[in-house]
């Protein structure tokens, strides 16, 4: 038998809390990205979800991967997506979001 009580110290609880919070944020924002009717909102939710993934990496002691996630995914991919959306026609977008 493994004695589970030895894991339940304050550090374990803090790490569990941080992980659960980040997991809920990542999943929630990803679902919002898919179901949002407005494409710019989708892009912003996606960026939020990228940021939460970066926070998850950092909480797992992978600082470099976390910062690379911020630079590559938020700074490059996220901004590129927003830039591309801005080039699309706004009226068309609104028709789609309402109809």
């Amino acid at each position: 038998m493994i004695d589970l009580t030895q894991f339940y110290n304050i550090r374990f609880l803090i790490e569990l809390g941080a992980f659960s919070l980040l997991a809920v944020i990542i999943l929630g924002l990803s679902i919002l990205t898919v179901y949002s009717r407005n494409i710019v909102h989708s892009g912003l939710y996606l960026i939020g979800s990228f940021a939460a993934v970066a926070a998850l990496y950092i909480s797992l002691n992978a600082t470099f991967v976390g910062v690379a996630q911020v630079l590559v995914y938020i700074g490059a991919v996220g901004v590129l997506i927003l830039f591309a959306i801005m080039l699309t026609k706004k009226t068309l977008m609104e028709e789609e979001s309402h109809g």
Binding site: L44, T63, L82, M86
Partner: protein, 346 residues
């Protein structure tokens, strides 16, 4: 007794102790940055006044008008907060918050000078990471999102154009700036800003003159200051991405520009001008790094204000041309130069 309890807790749970200390340090840092950025607004108005042969603020708070900013802040807090009917409300409300928060990320890894205690230099930095230069570069690259949110959600063509220009400019200048940071890291054999400062027995401004000029230009562009402030060019697009904002939300966006101005100047001082390094001043030796750091910082700040009042604004196509066609190839040359010189002197 409290102290001994704290040290005992620190020995038992170093991670949690570090977390608590980090949160306290971050809170102090945020307060200090806000106060210094406010003083910076005052400095800029005063220095601009001098350059333009007028007084600048000189009524509120005595001869130098130091309290002018307190008055401005109260005005911004009490003004009516208007949200346009066609605006995308949640994005509109969150934009200033995102802008300030992403800017504050940069501050976490920047050292704000150093103190000499018992003959050892102790840098004043919240998070002394191994990759802090990389982290700062990453944090600088996400600053355009706040401006984009503000410009897009306002439902105004001019705001939209401002946001559009902001992102086009950011993409064009992030690349040469990143390559300059890499060149500095190669020469210093480290990505840690503290170690980069320690490595500068010769200032990198002299070791890599091309890199210094490119970084300074890219930095001014990133800060959105005068020769490169196409995002809020008054004559063309009213006030760019913050046209529709009023009250404290406008105050936050306005203030964010000054926080970036301060942090960017500190980054320039650390990467190219030797940070807090300088001859030790006798008698007050323990704060002599601070004195050197603040002297260099004030010189850089005044030089940037000087550039702002003297140069006219470029067109947006000239700006992107300069970024992609001139600065990017030159930064590659600088990278090769850094590798060759770095290997020769290593």
């Amino acid at each position: 007794m409290v102290l001994s309890a704290i040290t005992e807790f620190a020995a038992q749970e170093p991670k949690i102790y570090g977390l608590v200390i980090g949160l306290i340090a971050a809170a102090i840092l945020a307060a200090v940055i806000n106060v210094v950025a406010m003083l910076l607004v005052w400095l800029e108005r005063k220095v601009m006044g001098d350059f333009q042969s007028r007084y600048g603020p000189n009524r509120v708070g005595g001869r130098w008008g130091v309290l002018q900013l307190g008055a401005d802040a109260i005005k911004l807090f009490t003004k009516e907060d208007i949200i346009p009917r066609g605006a995308d409300k949640p994005v509109y409300v969150w934009a200033p918050i995102v802008a300030v928060a992403t800017t504050m990320l940069v501050a976490g890894a920047l050292p704000f000078g150093a103190l000499i205690i018992d003959g050892r230099e102790i840098p004043l930095v919240v998070a002394n990471m191994d990759i802090s230069a990389f982290y700062i570069e990453a944090a600088l690259s996400i600053m355009a999102i706040g401006a984009f949110m503000a410009g897009w959600s306002s439902n105004n063509k001019y705001s939209m154009l401002g946001a559009f220009r902001g992102i086009a400019r950011m993409i064009a200048y992030e690349v040469p700036m990143g390559i300059c940071v890499i060149s500095v890291a190669i020469m210093a054999h480290s990505l840690n800003v503290v170690e980069i400062v320690e490595a500068q027995s010769v200032w990198f401004a002299f070791a890599q003159p091309i890199g210094f000029v490119i970084f300074a230009i890219a930095l001014i562009t990133d800060l959105g200051r005068m020769p490169f402030d196409q995002t809020e060019a008054e004559e063309e697009i009213i006030a760019g991405y913050n046209t529709e904002y009023s009250g404290i939300r406008f105050g936050l966006l306005y203030f964010q520009e000054y926080i970036v101005f301060l942090l960017g100047s500190i980054l320039l001082v650390h990467l190219y001008l030797g940070g807090w390094k300088g001859p030790v001043i006798p008698v007050i030796s323990f704060i002599s790094p601070m004195i050197w750091f603040f002297m260099k910082l004030v010189i850089v700040l005044v030089a940037l204000i000087w550039i702002r009042v003297s140069l006219p604004r470029f067109r947006i196509d000239q700006v992107t041309d300069l970024g992609w066609k001139i600065l990017l190839p030159l930064s590659m040359v600088n990278l090769v130069w850094a590798v060759v010189v770095g290997m020769y002197f290593a």
